[in-house]
């Protein structure tokens, strides 16, 4: 927006570390949005008297993967702390989190903005446990709150960026970039709807050119990227109107109401709760061995940013296509496997077929890369057939449709369906001659200057050929015969 004010936005992201068991007990991590309540609960995550937490090493490893991918400094000794408050979904009356000495800090990630690439600073990355879930119901005229502790004690990673994002677009791209990294390092599936990743922007504005920070508001309850964008846009406009009208922004937490497209105050930070943090006496300081950290660092996959650069330089992809392909590790892996398997088709052709027709089919059916009925080799084989002219684009789309629906091999699908491209010049010349003879008026009009009619005539030839003619050859033959006619 062309405004007198500059948005100043930071993100606080909570990501479930999708380990097998919970952060401090042996209960499995289950999908808490489906199924029975309280099926993954033990005395520890139910906060029974006398129970003690024990650190899940896998969760620490997951957290380190993310921290390293975000270029953070790892604190080889970090400290768990108790964050105290009363709520029925918090069984112990405190949440085990990290406060003064988090697992990692001072990192960064690169995002795209309209002004080019931006390096966004990561303030801290720490481990904590999730809370349970409340459901409010009414039975026989009485209102009840039901407690489900399936989620209680699930490992969470909190990632806090510095307030360095200055547009809604930057907010979106930063959130996507974080999601992409979480998925790349294999710790989180990035599902916002299920609450596996929760993004909370803290938003303030300041006059353009000012270096001071304005008062910020935090927005919670964003369960899609769309609501992140809408809520950020809404809040920026609200603050601007407020300030323009002579008002002042109040520091508070706002809840996004997706149906109404507005925010509502959740709690005012003026009467901020005092969480009475202190080091968790039941857990000794978390000490991670340097050698272990280095092993994890070495085990990290190539991250999206680096992979994108490589795709551009090695495969000659456009930045946009490279971005789309590297956004998800499975897609990028699939792409590279296809490029490697292709004999004739080049990397760009494969990128076009991947991001165009295949993504189209996947989006339409809501299917993920991992659910495909065919592999990278089949896509490569199909692109090869296109590249050598064995099948034309329309035929190849049909083959892709069959691969998508049933799987199989492109060569046999082409054969079975008779989709081989016809390039025989005698046959093509005969069909073109017949079409021109059958449409004398359109042919004459074309020659008189109505250029788009060529497409009509082309379509007629393709129809005669049952869609299988080599389109480039048909165009050449049409133009040749028509120009002869005009002389």
């Amino acid at each position: 927006m062309a405004s007198k004010y500059q948005p100043v936005i930071g993100l606080e992201v909570h990501a479930v570390l999708e380990t097998r068991s919970k952060m401090f007990c042996a209960c499995p991590v289950v999908d808490s949005t489906v199924g029975e309540p309280n099926i993954a609960v033990c005395p520890i995550c139910a906060g029974m008297p006398g129970m003690l937490p024990v650190i899940n090493e896998a969760a620490v490893e997951y957290a380190l993967r993310v921290a390293l991918a975000l270029n953070c400094t790892i604190n080889l000794t970090s400290i768990f702390a108790r964050k105290s408050y009363f709520y029925p979904d918090l069984p112990k009356g405190f949440q085990i989190s990290q406060y003064e000495q988090p697992l990692a800090q001072n990192g960064w990630l690169t995002i795209d903005t309209v002004d080019g690439e931006q390096r966004v600073a990561i303030r801290r990355v720490h481990i904590e446990e999730d809370t349970g879930k409340l459901t409010h119901v009414e039975r026989d005229g009485e209102r009840y709150s039901l407690v489900d502790l399936n989620r209680s004690g699930v490992p969470l990673l909190e990632i806090v960026t510095e307030p360095e994002l200055h547009s809604v677009e930057a907010v979106r791209n930063c959130a996507y970039a974080l999601r992409s990294i979480l998925r790349y390092v294999g710790v989180n599936s990035g599902n916002l709807e299920k609450g596996l990743m929760r993004i909370e922007p803290n938003i303030s504005i300041r006059p353009v050119g000012s270096r001071e920070f304005g008062t910020r508001a935090e927005i919670k309850n964003l369960n899609s990227f769309r609501s992140l964008e809408r809520a950020t846009t809404y809040e920026l406009a609200r603050q601007e109107q407020l300030v323009e009208a002579g008002g002042a922004v109040v520091q508070q937490t706002l809840g996004w109401d997706d149906a109404r497209g507005t925010t509502q105050a959740q709690r005012s930070k003026e009467v901020a709760e005092d969480y009475r943090y202190f080091p968790e006496p039941d857990l000794p300081p978390l000490v991670v061995e340097k050698a272990w950290v280095e092993k994890i660092r070495k085990g990290l996959p190539e991250l999206p940013q680096a992979r994108r650069e490589r795709f551009i330089s090695k495969y000659g992809l456009k930045a946009y296509d490279a971005n789309v392909i590297v956004a998800e590790r499975e897609v990028a892996d699939f792409y590279e496997a296809a490029v490697a398997a292709a004999k004739t088709a080049d990397a760009k052709l494969i990128a076009n077929w991947l991001t165009g027709p295949l993504f189209g089919l996947m989006n339409e059916a809501g299917v993920e890369m991992g659910d495909l009925r065919f592999g990278a080799k089949q896509l490569a084989a199909l692109c090869d057939q296109v590249a050598v002219g064995k099948v034309n684009a329309a035929g190849a789309r049909e083959v892709l449709g069959v691969l998508f629906a049933e799987g199989g091999s492109p060569a046999s699908i082409i054969k079975a369906r008779g989709l081989q491209q016809i390039s025989d010049s005698g046959q093509l010349a005969a069909w073109v001659g017949e079409v021109i003879a059958a449409h004398p008026k359109q042919s004459a009009d074309y020659l008189a200057g109505n250029a788009p009619l060529l497409n009509f005539l082309f379509g007629q030839v393709m129809q005669k050929a049952g869609g299988k003619a080599n389109p480039a050859a048909v165009r050449d033959e049409l133009q040749a015969q028509l120009s002869k006619l005009g002389k």
Binding site: M48, P49, G50, G93
Partner: protein, 490 residues
């Protein structure tokens, strides 16, 4: 067979192994004594007569089977009855922790310490009285009434493990588990004439111990002598994957063997012989130290200069941890719930009705010490001073093998004596708190009686993981004294 209750745990086990007595007889003897004396003493809050007799019968069967097959390794404590302080969870038995808020609470799990003893064959007689959530020095803070000292029933048995101490002293159990956060095993051991072991922090798992001050809480033993305490420690100690503060590998420390204490250096800290220490207790303790010297030990004066800060430091750290530990008692999942329309009101009313005054006092002190703006001045500062107290011990243990000192300023006081002044009660623990802040082991033995016939406790402290050394010194002492063999006339 009469007089079975006079056998020490070690003697009873020998009798069981030899087939001279049965576990059912032994257990029944204790249950009969409990029936007879507990209504007056109130040492037990819950007696598990039926399950105890079943376990005893099963133990007898195992013994008989082993005798028939001539061999086979038997569990170390097979058939031995014990009592368990009510802050330790035993599956299927109530765990009230001396509080109204847990009046009907029955855990589904068993504390690791108890489980290891059960695996070794013990028979649990029941759960013993305690100050509410182990906060107190007399059992007067129990919601279920005070326990009476068997030596003088107008007096307290000490606390918070007063129920366990009274049970062992009155021969209502051969041995009992207690817990020690600031002296709660050693002080009642002193008041009841027992051997009380406070283990090194990290030596015995706290899993299943309802937390009071997590960085201070330890599981300990109240026994008639050091040998019995050692039997229990050997079984229940050691690393537990369910308690991250237990230690995987403990150092092997030198300890005396047999009757001689030749070469043992004993530090006598001047800060423990101060105004407020009763003359009779001081005399008893000094006489005890002389006795150790007679066995070959050498006593030297030492200084633990930060001792005077132990009390204020403790009364910040313990309540701070307690304020968080006790937050789970909110009426939502278990325990007392005072139904209200409003959630916050339900929290307030449930906790208000469930907790006693001392627990509320400590929750308030602890919450205050942790609150924004006060943290650095209170909790932060206390942690710094705690490190100095720990260093005092580290320094002294470079020069001496153990420390000997009084356990308590006086012998057992009358019920109600400190009723109006919590500070007076806090001072009862002035000699026992430092060991908890430092995490070192402590042991109390009976070193005589005062003019009123009340036991006097001699406290010994050792470096981290010197629990066995303390037991060995106490055992040597008990070979040449017979204070520990005396029992109250009931």
């Amino acid at each position: 067979m009469s007089g079975l209750h006079e056998l020490s745990a070690k003697q009873a086990l020998a009798g069981l192994r030899a087939g001279k007595i049965s576990s059912v007889e032994l257990t029944r003897a204790y249950l009969e004594r409990i029936e007879q004396h507990n209504p007056r003493l109130n040492a037990y809050l819950y007696v598990s007569a039926e399950s105890a007799l079943q376990a005893a019968a099963a133990a007898d069967k195992q013994y008989a089977k082993a005798r028939r097959s001539k061999g086979g390794k038997l569990p170390a404590l097979l058939g031995l009855p014990i009592a368990v302080k009510d802050v330790l969870a035993v599956a299927g038995m109530p765990a009230t922790c001396g509080s109204r808020i847990l009046e009907n609470f029955v855990p589904s799990y068993t504390a690791t310490s108890v489980q290891r003893l059960l695996d070794a064959g013990v028979v649990v007689l029941g759960k013993t009285n305690t100050d509410e959530f182990a906060m107190g020095s007399s059992t007067e803070n129990s919601a279920y009434g005070v326990t009476r000292n068997p030596w003088d029933e107008t007096r307290v048995p000490g606390g918070s493990s007063g129920g366990s101490a009274a049970a062992v002293a009155a021969r209502l159990a051969p041995v009992a588990l207690g817990t020690d956060t600031g002296g709660s095993v050693r002080q009642p051991a002193a008041f009841c004439g027992l051997t009380g072991l406070k283990t090194t922090y990290g030596r015995v798992s706290r899993y299943g111990l309802v937390a009071f001050g997590s960085s201070l809480d330890t599981v300990g033993v109240l026994a008639r002598d050091a040998a019995d305490a050692g039997l229990i420690l050997k079984v229940m100690g050691g690393y537990d994957p369910q308690d991250a503060t237990t230690v995987e590998k403990t150092p092997k420390l030198e300890k005396p063997s047999g009757r001689s204490l030749k070469g043992l250096k004993i530090g006598v800290p001047k800060e423990y012989f101060i105004e407020g220490l009763s003359a009779e207790v001081e005399n008893g303790v000094r006489e005890g130290i002389r006795q150790l010297e007679a066995l070959g030990a050498k006593a030297v004066p030492v200084s633990l200069p930060h001792t005077e800060y132990a009390l204020p430091v403790y009364y910040i750290i313990a309540p701070a941890e307690a304020s968080a530990n006790l937050a789970r008692f909110d009426g939502v999942r278990y325990g007392l719930r005072v139904v209200q329309d409003d959630l916050i009101e339900m929290f307030k009313r449930s906790r208000g009705a469930g907790f006693g005054p001392e627990v509320k006092r400590r929750i308030m002190i602890g919450s205050y010490a942790l609150s924004a703006g006060y943290y650095d001045a209170y909790y932060g500062q206390a942690q710094k001073v705690r490190a100095l107290i720990r260093r005092d011990f580290d320094n002294v243990f470079k020069k001496v093998d153990i420390i000997a000192a009084p356990s308590t300023p006086s012998t057992a006081f009358r019920i109600g004596a400190h009723g109006n002044d919590p500070l007076e009660m806090y001072l009862e623990d002035v000699f026992t708190l430092p060991a908890n802040l430092a995490g070192v082991p402590g042991l109390c033995v009976c070193a005589g009686f005062d003019g009123q016939g009340l036991p006097i406790g001699l406290q010994m402290l050792g470096p981290h993981f010197a629990d066995e050394r303390l037991l060995a010194v106490a055992a040597a002492y008990q070979k040449v004294t017979d204070w520990h063999k005396q029992g109250p006339a009931l």
